[in-house]
């Protein structure tokens, strides 16, 4: 499923919490904004792929477009938690 929220939490231990922040980014708003350009671009990309098909590059354009969609779609569930003596970095894609 497409990630809808991004949680980025950075805590600095060495500066008594200064420079620490907890960010919740509503990715669904970004997808809503990005949706119209993507929909507009899709026929153009399909057309470009069709024109370039005889050269062999059309297949790559189409495939790349689908792979990028696949990558974005499956990004939810990523969790990265790094803790050191000075800093804690936590990233969560929901």
């Amino acid at each position: 499923m497409i990630p809808l929220m991004l949680e980025l939490d950075i805590k600095r231990k060495d500066q008594k919490g200064r420079g620490s922040f907890d960010l919740w980014l509503p990715l669904f708003l970004i997808w809503l904004i990005a949706l119209p350009p993507i929909l507009l671009l899709t026929p153009l990309i399909l057309l470009a792929a069709l024109i370039l098909w005889p050269t062999g590059k059309g297949r790559y354009i189409l495939f790349l477009y689908l792979v990028i969609f696949g990558l974005i779609w499956h990004m939810s569930g990523i969790k990265i938690d790094i803790q050191s003596n000075k800093k804690i970095v936590y990233l969560n894609l929901i």
């Binding site: 495939f63 792979v67 990558l71 499956h74 939810s76 990265i80 003596n85």
Partner: protein, 136 residues
């Protein structure tokens, strides 16, 4: 209550089978469901990488990464977009390290096979740091 169990009990109540027969049938049924449950292998959903400080280590860094397997699958498909020159360089680097595997010959089917079998994949290294790589 499932259909088969219900039918056995109905047959017992109608007198078509004896209590011993019903008991035998019910125990056979439960054994079969246990075998089926054991055979169902859950597909892994995440690849986990955990790095923790080892016993007595001064370094207290910890890393905990959780990556969806589907994302890895999608990412590996990008390998086909790596230019030929870069693929050759990867092969050269692998040969230098003694890995005689031609990177360019890995097909999407091979990737699927690797990811299907990754369920049983576990790496456990203990030293200054404890590194665990596994699927869940």
């Amino acid at each position: 209550m499932n259909e088969e169990r219900k039918r056995i009990l109905e047959m017992l109540s109608e007198g078509k089978i004896s209590t011993e027969e019903a008991e035998r049938l019910l125990s056979a049924l439960s054994q079969r469901s246990e075998i089926n449950q054991g055979m169902v292998k859950n597909e892994p959903r995440y690849l986990r990488v955990m790095v923790e400080p080892g016993v007595g280590s001064k370094n207290k860094d910890r890393v905990n990464v959780k990556i969806p397997i589907k994302l890895i699958r999608a990412g590996l498909r990008l390998a086909s977009f790596i230019p030929k020159d870069a693929q050759d360089k990867v092969n050269e680097a692998l040969h230098e390290k003694g890995i005689e595997k031609d990177f360019t010959k890995i097909k999407p089917e091979d990737i699927d096979e690797i990811l299907t079998q990754i369920n049983d994949f576990t790496v456990d290294v203990e030293g200054k740091e404890t590194v665990k790589v596994f699927c869940e």
